[in-house]
Structures are given as structure tokens and as C-alpha cells.
């Protein structure tokens, strides 16, 4: 009998006979003899964790997660629930993809390396920048890495990192932690009607600024109109222009390279992952000027001994396992499998599908805003801007009460102010949007 579960791990295949042969071979009576742990620190207690059969364990997890309410989420603000084609789940779940690790032996890892190379190429096309790494953890950590890159590559004595006042708290806080070990200081600049307040940013920017950060679309769902001017401001002050976006938005919005972005960060898992309680994929692309300063892994093309093109991790002297305390980042394990899923989803859409998905994000948000605006006690959108997939709504009644009433009726929305809620159309079917409008009419009056 293999791995009798009463006594051990179901995934350790030793039979009793094999176990004794192995113990004999190493001259031990039991496994305990092989441990060299001083008595003073031995643990002979119990964790009090019961073993379960596979079926029982599945039932347990199903029962725990069953406590989550089944709501239609009109939620965005950095994390989205687009529909994921079945192709992505089925192919990404092939166990060669799932159960391999970092490609330290490229000769047996060509498939993953090629998929990551294709992912990098997708980002190069979307951003117009020459270099994309093959993943950071999420948008927030990619932003943190951009700041430490800015510190390394800028000659100025400055230390100011300028970010929008409405930057998501999770991104702001993560950024603060990433720069805590440097001289950098994070400061907020004002926004105006959702977008960068250009005059205020001009006022705030001086030669002490090492990095200007803007997002497109913004956290309020508005599309930026002054990115070129932000880029010019960065050039004039020798600061790095870091732009936050994502692969769906980048399919139609201004190409970052065309507005002078030096680095693009963001969450690439808008493609490839369903809502996953905030799990992400850090997009990181930059100019080839900073090639040697890029954090994270890079896949490059080379040749094998038959002169055929082959792929390998490259420029590893930037990385922690070689450069240690002088590495460009401490990242090792990354989000490679999510990057694979993102690449698969993008390939499944193709350029027509990506542009279509992005444009529908604009028109569907516009349509929903118009319908909500027609309701009594509601103004939508709050900002007089073009919007991408989400927008802010002003409600006469207290926003938390509206959100709570909506939740009771099966819809989740963001509360972003005393009288402001935010809604997102990504991944929500037309039928559910109709039903949302009807429900909203009931709760808003």
C-alpha cells in the first residue's frame, strides 16, 4: 500500500518495505535517527491539525468559501473581473507549465521561456518601450521597483517622488515601504476633475524631483489628456516619467513611448486572471537606456549548438542570486504563470479583440453613466472627462447606505466619498447591467 494516510503524507509513495530498505542503506533504524536537532529545541507537541481525505478537504474548502456572498461585482479600481476564455484555464493548467520552476536549465524549459518571451514582446508592442521584464508581483510593487530604479539611474541630487493625490492607498503604502531604505520621499500632487492638475504639477516639480508618476486611466476611471505635458515636465527637470496602465487600456490609449514615458508599470493580470482578491501581475517595461538596471527576470533569444534560435534567462548579473546586496531588486520567485495566462488571453483576443474589448470599456461605461444620470438623485459621471470602464457617481443620499442597499440586492460597488460611489463595467454582462440600473433606481430615490 502506498503512502498509508493514517500514518503519513499521501504524497510520499514509500511502501513499508522500501522504507526499511532505505533505512538499512543509510544505517538508521527510523527517520528520527537522521535528524540532528538538539533536544532543547525539539518539538514533540502537536499542531492539532486533523488529516482529511481529499474529498473531505475539498468539502471543507467549499464550505468555508461558500460563506462568500454571490454578488455581481461592479468593482474595479485596480483589480478587474474580465471574462477569461476557457482556452486559458485548460492550457495554462497543463502540468508542465504548472509544475516547473524558474528556467535555470533552459534546454529543458524552452516552452516556458518562449511563452515569457512572447509576453515580453506583447508588452513591448503595447508600451512602445524596448524592454519588458517577465513579471513583478503586482502594480504596487512594480511602482516601488520603478522608484528604486529612478534613484539608481538619476544623477540629480534630488529625492522627491511625485504621485497623484488620489493614488490607491495600497500602491502608495507599498511605494513608501520600497523607498524606506533610500533617501527618496513620496509626495502627492493635486488632481483636477480626475486628471493631473498640470499647473499644480508644474508648480510642484523642480530639479529635486527624481520621478513623476501618473496613471492612465486614472483611479477614478478618467482618461488623461495631458500626458505629453507631464512627459515634457519630466524631461525639463531630468526626472523619470513613470506611467501606470494595463494591457487592455494600452490597446487603445496613447502609447506610453509617444508621450515620453521612461517606465510603464501596472497590473497586467487584467488579462488572464479572474477576480482573485487582489492577486496580480506586475507589469514593468522601460527604455533600453536602463537595460542594466531593470529589476526581475528577462528572457532573451540566443542560439543553441545547432544554431537554431533558443531562449534563455539573460543578464542575470543584475539579479540577487549573483549580485546579492548589489542586485537591482530582491525579487526571485515572481508571477511567471500569471504572465503565461496573460499572454494566452491576449493571444486569444488578438489585436482586433483587444481593441474591441478596450473600446467596449469606453462605450459601455459611457452608456451606463448616461442611464444612471437619468435617475433621480444621481449624477454620473462626476468628472467631465472621457472614461475607461469605470466612473464615479454622485448620489444625493449617503453613499454607504446606497452601497449597502445595493449589496442586499446582489450588487457590489465602491464607496469613494460621502456621496460618491464608483462603478465598473468590466466583465459584467449587459443583462446584469440592466438589472443594476433597475435596482439603482429603487435604492437611490
Amino acid at each position: 500500500m502506498h503512502g498509508s494516510h493514517a500514518t503519513g503524507s499521501p504524497y510520499a509513495p514509500h511502501t513499508d518495505e522500501e522504507r526499511s530498505q532505505m533505512l538499512d542503506a543509510v544505517g538508521a533504524e527510523t527517520e528520527a535517527d537522521l535528524f540532528d536537532i538538539p533536544e532543547a529545541v525539539q518539538f514533540d507537541g502537536e499542531f492539532d491539525i486533523d488529516a482529511r481525505s481529499e474529498r473531505e478537504t475539498r468539502r471543507l474548502v467549499r464550505s468555508i468559501l461558500g460563506r462568500n456572498d454571490d454578488l455581481t461585482e461592479l468593482l474595479g479600481r485596480g483589480h478587474y473581473g474580465y471574462y477569461i476564455p476557457s482556452l486559458v484555464d485548460h492550457l495554462a493548467d497543463r502540468s508542465e507549465f504548472l509544475t516547473s520552476y524558474t528556467q535555470y536549465q533552459p534546454e529543458v524549459s524552452q516552452g516556458f521561456l518562449q511563452a515569457l518571451f512572447e509576453y515580453q514582446s506583447l508588452l513591448v508592442e503595447l508600451t512602445g518601450l524596448e524592454i519588458a521584464n517577465c513579471s513583478m508581483y503586482d502594480a504596487a510593487t512594480a511602482l516601488g521597483e520603478a522608484a528604486t530604479l529612478a534613484e539608481r539611474v538619476r544623477d540629480t541630487s534630488g529625492h522627491r517622488v511625485l504621485v497623484p493625490d488620489r493614488l490607491l492607498e495600497g500602491r502608495r503604502s507599498t511605494l513608501e515601504n520600497y523607498v524606506a531604505g533610500t533617501d527618496l520621499v513620496v509626495e502627492a500632487y493635486p488632481t483636477d476633475d480626475g486628471n493631473v492638475d498640470l499647473a499644480a504639477l508644474e508648480e510642484a516639480t523642480d530639479e529635486e524631483a527624481v520621478m513623476l508618476y501618473a496613471e492612465n486611466p486614472t483611479v477614478r476611471g478618467t482618461i488623461e489628456e495631458n500626458l505629453e505635458a507631464v512627459g515634457d515636465l519630466a524631461v525639463a527637470n531630468e526626472a523619470l516619467f513613470v506611467l501606470g496602465s494595463d494591457p487592455i487600456a494600452l490597446s487603445v490609449l496613447q502609447r506610453p513611448a509617444d508621450v515620453g514615458a521612461d517606465v510603464v508599470v501596472g497590473d497586467a493580470s487584467v488579462l488572464g486572471l479572474p477576480t482573485s482578491y487582489g492577486m496580480g501581475l506586475g507589469l514593468f517595461a522601460t527604455s533600453e537606456d536602463y537595460l542594466r538596471q531593470v529589476p526581475g527576470r528577462l528572457v532573451g533569444a540566443s542560439e543553441d549548438s545547432t544554431d537554431r534560435r533558443a531562449y534563455t534567462l539573460t543578464l542575470q548579473t543584475r539579479e540577487q542570486h549573483i549580485r546579492r546586496e548589489r542586485a537591482t531588486s530582491n525579487i526571485c520567485t515572481n508571477q511567471a504563470w500569471v504572465a503565461l495566462r496573460t499572454a494566452m488571453h491576449a493571444a486569444s483576443l488578438g489585436p482586433n479583440g483587444m481593441v474591441d474589448l478596450a473600446e467596449r470599456g469606453v462605450t459601455r461605461a459611457e452608456d451606463l453613466a448616461e442611464r444612471l444620470d437619468d435617475l433621480v438623485g444621481v449624477k454620473a459621471p462626476v468628472h467631465d472627462r472621457h472614461h475607461f470602464r469605470e466612473f464615479v457617481v454622485r448620489v444625493d443620499q449617503p453613499a454607504p447606505a446606497i452601497a449597502s442597499d445595493l449589496e442586499k440586492r446582489g450588487f457590489a460597488v465602491h464607496v469613494v466619498g460621502e456621496h460618491e460611489i464608483q462603478v465598473c463595467v468590466a466583465g459584467v454582462s449587459d443583462a446584469r447591467i440592466d438589472s443594476f440600473v433597475t435596482t439603482f433606481r429603487e435604492v437611490a430615490r
Binding site: 503519513g8 456572498d69 508542465e96 519588458a132 520567485t333 511567471a336
Partner: protein, 499 residues
Amino acid sequence: MSGSRGDGDGRSEDKQVRYDQARYVENGQYEPLLSEKDLTRVEIGGEDDGSPLPDDLTRDSLELPELSEPELARHYTRLSQMIYGIDSGPYPLGSCTMKYNPKFTEDVAALPTAAVHPDRSERSIQGTLELLYRLQDYLGRIGGMDAVTLQPPAGAAGEFVGIRVAAAYHEHNGEGHRDEVIVPESAHGTNFATAALGGYDVVSLPSDDDGRVDLEALEAALSENTAALMLTNPNTLGLFERDITEIAEMVHDVGGLLYYDGANLNALLGRARPGDMGFDVMHYNVHKTFATPHGGGGPGAGPVGVVDDLAPFLPAPRVRENGGSKSETSYELFDPDHTIGKVHGYQGNWLVLIKAFAYIARLGDAGLADASAKAVLNANYLASQIGYDVPYEPFHHEFVASAGEQDAADVAKRMLDYGVHPPTTKWPEIVPEALMTEPTEVESKKTLDRLAAAFNAVADEDDPTLEAAPDRTAARRIDQTSAARSPRLSWQTLDLEDD
């Protein structure tokens, strides 16, 4: 010498796996890039195109492959066939704990009820909060820690939390002057890089002759400037730091904190806990110890456990119980009093955490302890069956053999031809031509015998054979120098070459 040990039947060739990895060749090249199958340019904006946005807010065009689903299914299936994973064969990559990833954990992570947005109200995601709470609790018990955060998305991110928590703790106690982190010479590269990212000066600690922390060197390195000592136990040679109690006392005597790198926790489940050894803060690599898939490089998760004194500094938010009804406990998020804030935009790699929870719940006490027992048995048995010298003992879940006169990197390449994944090579540097080997508990005796046969076959081969390897893999030996000298990091750069 090859293969004649073990059961002594001497038929070494029967023990070796020979295999040919799938290899597609088209027009003299391997599987073409998506961009070589198609590139379609879609124009955006311009006259009467139906774009909902004005031209000055859009890009001009987007050029990417436009392929059908059947074409893509073949592409990615072929790519998968050109990858060696744990399900392909043994994967004894030292320090990476490449154990089998139970299939059912994929199913529970894919439950529709798991697909929730992070901005949902707490009352509407009680299931998610309960699972996180129970996992915090499990990990605390396993590590002997008082409080746990699940936010760090990988081991290195967990280290970063540990270092930031240490900094906040010292600052809080008016000891912000502490500016040094001590790291043993043989530690994982991430330890050094993390301490540097946290703004600390890294003090490197040499090993003593038996491969462990040199107490005299430690005494010399410790001072009132010491913020923390980062330690892996068992260390990267697989050796248990026998003086751990004394080490902890020494670090604590100067007011420093002791950090446990959880990379090697698979050696200790149920037999020793970092909390009992005097560690103040630790990270867990759930993709190692708790069998979540490595996914070609990630995602993992690197939860961090701390003792009570450090709990107020953990990242925000954490999960706690909040009364509830008689029949059901309810849960809520809260910010620790002196939190360092966040190290991830939300709450880390949720889907990975579900899989880790399911693994621990499946194995229970007995399974976890057995996993470590078998992992250590397997490492010892494998070492006893190979001809290469293993200079440091007694090791636990992994051992570091020396390839001797052979080049360890070449040995690894040649092992690929025997249908096994090779060990981690040339590290730690204390062993010349190191072959750092961690078979994990999931290999049977038969598989270990085949793995040993591969080691031994390669040990008997000459340098030219090793240098020419591999030849049965999807690609042959890849030129690393050329890749780094003229970086080609996207298909766009290949197009330039063709032009």
C-alpha cells in the same frame, strides 16, 4: 561504479531513464513564435472608424498576432511539451523544494466562490476571511509564531516584511541607529538583496570549518548596530545549526532580532519550530513547504510569522475573529497598531494561499511530520547511492555533493540527457563544484535509484561528453554569452535583425 549499488543487480542501464524531449522543427527552427505565425495591424482612430475616443487620446495602431483558437491550442500544447516539470520526473533542485503539487488544490482554488474582488465589504466575503484566518492560525502553529501575515507574495517579499518590521520595531524603541543586518556567507542571495533594499549595511558572516555559523565570527560581527541576523536552519548545506540557542542569546543580548528564512522548513515539520529556537520573525515559502505549484517561476507566497512583541508592526490589514453568532464565527480585517503599511497592493497571492491551506488541511499533523521524515530519508538515501563526495554531514532534507574535477554546470547539462532534472549547481560556494540536491519526500525508492544512476553515469563520463551535452532535450546547449552580449528581449528585435 554506476548503478551497481542499491539492490546489487548490476543492470545499471535498466535503471537509467533515457528519453527524448519533444522537439518541433519548422523551416530549420523550433516552434515558431506567435509573431511568426501572424502579425495583424489594427488601425485605431482616424476618419469614420467608429472609435469612441478622440484621436489625440488614442494610439495609432496595434500590431499583434491574430490566430484562431485551434492554432493557439497547438502552439501552447507544443510549448508545454518542451518543458520539464515535476510531473515529468524527479526535480531535485536544492533549496527549491520541488515537491509534487496535489491536483485537487487546483480545483479548490478554481471554485467560483473564490473569485472575489478585494474591495468587497467584509460581511460579504466571510468565507475568504475565514480561510485566511484559519491559514494564519495553521502557520502560526507550524512555525511556533504568535501572529502571521499572509500578504507577502513571495519568499523575498516575506524577507522584506521581516526587515521592515525589524526596522519599525527598533525605531519604535528609540533604536533607529541600528543599521546593520548580518547574513551568513552561504545564505540565499535574496537575504543580502532584501537587507540592502531595506537600507541596511550587509555584514557577511563566514562559516566555520564544519559548515555552520562560526560563533567567534558572529561575536565579532554583533554590536549595538545590529538590527537582525538572518538565518536559514537547516542551512544551505542541509546542516542544522546546533548552536541555535546560543546564537539566539547572542543576538538578543545586543538587542538584535533573529530572522528565520523559511526556505528549508520542509526539513523540520513536526520536529522543530523556529519559534522554539528563539527566532523572532520568519517567513514561510508556501510554494516550497506546502506544495503549491511553482508555475515556471511563480506565483508563490511568503507569509510572515512573528512573536508577540513584533505583531503590532505587521502589514495591514490582518484578519481576526469578531464574535458572530452561536453557529458561525464572523471575521474582520484590522490594522495592527504600529503597522508598516503594505507590501502588496492588496492581500497577496490569494489563489496560492487557498492551495496552501488545502494542502495543510489534507495532510494534518501526521502527514506534515511524515513529509519531513521522508524528505530527510530520501536525501540521505540518495546521497548514499551516488559516487560524488558529500563533504558536509549530517544533512537533512538536502545535501551538497561535490562534482570534484568535473564542472558542476556541465554535470547538470549531461544529467538532462538521463531524463532527470539536475540539482542546483555551483552554490553554496563552500563546496567546490557544488551539486545541491533536494529530492523531497515525493520520490519513491525506484525513482531515487534512477536518479542515483543518472548521477553515477555522468560521474563516469569524460569532459568532452559533458561539454557537448545535452542532446536529447528540446534545445541543445544554449549560448549564454551571446544572449547577454547582444540582448534580444522581444520578437520586435528579431524583426530588426531580419531586416
